[in-house]
Point group: C2
Chain length 463, copies 2
């Protein structure tokens, strides 16, 4: 157990490493200014009626070092058209202002451009006043911007929280992470006043937490109206839980990490996230694990997908959930099933199974003896199975043919019948064990992490 002066020293050191250098600040400001000017000039050239604003951490002063990302919103009057119109207008602007671009689509169209080593998201939105009904969820962003700029007293504490969350892999609201968004970090610091207070409070959070900075709602109503472990009412829109994307796992991971940090404050809780430890591994390391564990790995690879980054992640995760359910239901008892994407054009779903094959027969419980379902059960199975129907205690049982005794054929069937429509065309490659050698080291790193599931912060909790 360290002393509180340790804690102060660690926080001072952490603040130093999470703050961008003066040089970095100047560079970001310069690039942002140039990018804004280019967009404004394009709007003029294209003769559009639109307003350009910078949003996100770069203008709220909550960005982390080496974070070369900028967000620029282009606000159109409501009359201009629907989302599709916005999508094509922003493409026109991106082409004109930056030449090359990558088209993206979450629930809303946007484009990503590269400019002088920065990645810039160009997002079209409708101009909304506070309290006015939004059309698309991004329309809120400028309101968030104003709110945070007005209320946030300690931007550096947001940096600490972001670095902390990155270090425990809980930063980001996107499906890949299911964690805390930048805006949620800002609201938590606004609510609790400081990083340390946030950590102290989080370490005591119960199973559900309600935070409503502007006192828009009552706790009772809010907890019944919203799902999720953290109900954090958006100060700019009480109809919205700003932490809706947060999963129970990430909520609990943050609570435990906060306890661990308070017990043993250490710079690793910040530095890890800034370094972006990924850990590539070799196929050999995985083979060693497999020969120790005596399990089998299956990897499904679906390539040549023309989907946005967000869609790649959500499809990968969705496929993983689907496969997990079906493998469970068919008795394959997976240790884990996980989805991943290279964020270009491939998604992967990997899983670790006790065995690729199950016996052809299974013992199936039927209805109680004498119940009204009895006759149907008996008629279905009499003479058709591998034994029985027979009575045990007060129930019928039967040995019947398992619907799927081969994991690979189950997966193949699943892909062709239940995969999300946008993946139907993809020709999946199914690899097992030794074929893993063929995979990229990033893919292997992800599989290895799933096998090991190491959480660095637990040792600080147990120490």
């Amino acid at each position: 157990m360290r002393t509180s002066s340790d804690l102060e020293l660690i926080l001072r050191e952490a603040e130093r490493i999470v703050s961008p250098s003066e040089e970095e600040r100047r560079r970001l400001e310069r690039v942002l200014e140039e990018a804004l000017r280019r967009v404004e000039e394009s709007i003029k050239r294209l003769n559009l009626n639109a307003e350009v604003i910078a949003v996100g951490s770069s203008v709220r002063d909550t960005w982390l070092p080496n974070n070369n990302e900028l967000d620029i919103f282009v606000l159109f009057p409501k009359g201009v058209g629907d989302k599709e119109v916005l999508g094509s207008l922003i493409v026109d602007i991106a082409k004109d202002a930056f030449g090359d671009y990558e088209q993206n689509y979450a629930e809303h169209p946007y484009v990503r451009v590269r400019y002088s080593d920065f990645e810039i998201d160009l997002v079209p939105a409708f101009k909304i006043l506070p309290g006015e009904r939004i059309i698309s969820s991004v329309d809120r962003t400028p309101l968030h911007n104003s709110y945070v700029r007005e209320k946030l007293k300690r931007p550096n504490d947001v940096r600490l929280l972001k670095a902390f969350l990155k270090s425990i892999d809980a930063y980001g609201a996107e499906e890949k992470v299911g964690g805390f968004s930048g805006y949620v970090c800002e609201l938590l610091i606004i609510n609790y006043g400081s990083f340390l207070k946030t950590i102290e409070e989080a370490s005591k959070w119960g199973s559900r937490v309600y935070i409503d900075i502007e006192h828009h709602l009552t706790e009772e109503y809010a907890l019944s109206a919203f799902n999720g472990p953290l109900v954090l009412i958006d100060p700019t829109d009480p109809r919205r839980n700003a932490a809706a994307a947060l999963t129970e796992t990430q909520f609990n991971r943050f609570k435990v990490a906060a306890r661990a940090f308070l017990k043993n404050p250490d710079i690793e809780f910040f530095s890890r996230g800034l370094k972006g430890v990924k850990g590539r591994v070799s196929a050999k390391q995985i083979e060693e694990q497999l020969s120790e564990r005596k399990t089998r790995i299956i990897v499904i690879e679906m390539g040549d997908l023309d989907l946005s980054r967000e869609l790649l992640w959500s499809q990968a995760k969705r496929m993983a959930r689907l496969l997990n359910e079906e493998l469970e239901a068919n008795g394959f008892d997976p240790l884990w099933v996980s989805g991943w994407t290279d964020e270009r054009d491939e998604i992967f779903v990997a899983m670790e199974l006790p065995s690729l094959n199950l016996p052809v027969i299974e013992r199936r419980q039927g209805p109680p003896v004498g119940s009204k379902e009895e006759m149907n059960f008996l008629k279905s199975y009499l003479g058709s199975g591998f034994g029985g129907p027979f009575i045990e205690g007060d129930r019928w049982y039967v040995y019947r043919k398992r619907r799927h005794s081969d994991a690979i054929s189950l997966i193949n069937e699943l892909i062709s019948s239940k995969a999300p429509t946008i993946l139907r065309g993809a020709k999946p490659k199914i690899l097992t064990d030794r074929e893993l050698l063929l995979l990229d080291r990033d893919v292997l790193g992800w599989i290895y992490r799933e096998m090991r599931k190491e959480e660095f912060f637990i040792r600080y909790l147990v120490d």
Copy 2:
């Protein structure tokens, strides 16, 4: 669906085949008379104070054709000594009267002798008057004898019921069967009046049944005082449920068979039991099943046991239950585990498993995040396992080494640590799959029946 005249014809035909011929009757009476005389003469020669009586189905006229079994009780005054004394006295008598004998022991000593093609159980007991406190459970038998002889109007209906129960493998209270004893059959016929009425009532039995012919107890008290699905108060001793040995499985099997018979009356419901269909099978038939089912069979053989028939059965069943529990608890998911004995000096426990080996690792659920058990869990597993501890939802999980990943080694450990003491000395042989060829055809027949679990009567229910 057959008509009621079909039913009458079948019952008439059944009564014919369950009744011994006149010649057989005469032979049984002659052998019984001779045996009784021999025992009486021995008692005189040995100068003992004891009374000899014939008991059981032979004197109640409820024995089935080809049932060459007799029961003779030797009643001693209470002062003669304890069970051990009774045991040595009955051995003296058996030696003197018949020469060769087989010593047996259930809860009570007795001997079995062979005499002119008959198997005779010679049982020593204390002489008890109705209402007098018994010392050993066999002391009741002479009372049962008198009761049944006095009350039973239709002995042939007991024969029908016994043949019916034999046909569905539910006749006999011994551990091997867990079914209906001869005495229970007699009491059911006394209670319901006839075989047909018994079957009609049984087909309508609910989940628990209370029968108290002499109205000794109240239903409420009886159902709370006794376990088991059928509470059949012994008319000669209200402290005893005569059907205590009946398992829920056999109770339900009888109910279903009764329904099946009423729906489609057929002589098979009687003839099967009289023929004693056993069905020997070859190792090849089992191998065929295994290659279709893709399961594995393990057989444990323990030989050279110097135990009575009853003890052989109860030890075999006990070992099977123990193994079933442990295999379940360790994730081997057995399709069935079953105990058997050759009734001489060997017991066998066989089981069908999806696989002889499981992965070395298992996923184990831990306590909720933040609970007071959390720290113990984390300390136990941190760095010691195959991955984790990690959080999923609101719980801790870990991948840990399975305690037993090899069924054979689990079984070996179990036999050396948890087997019943009287089996500890036995050197078990463990056979799998192809080694089954080494086994006797009776053993194979039993294994095959366990794999198939066919119940002939179900087709009559479904037809």
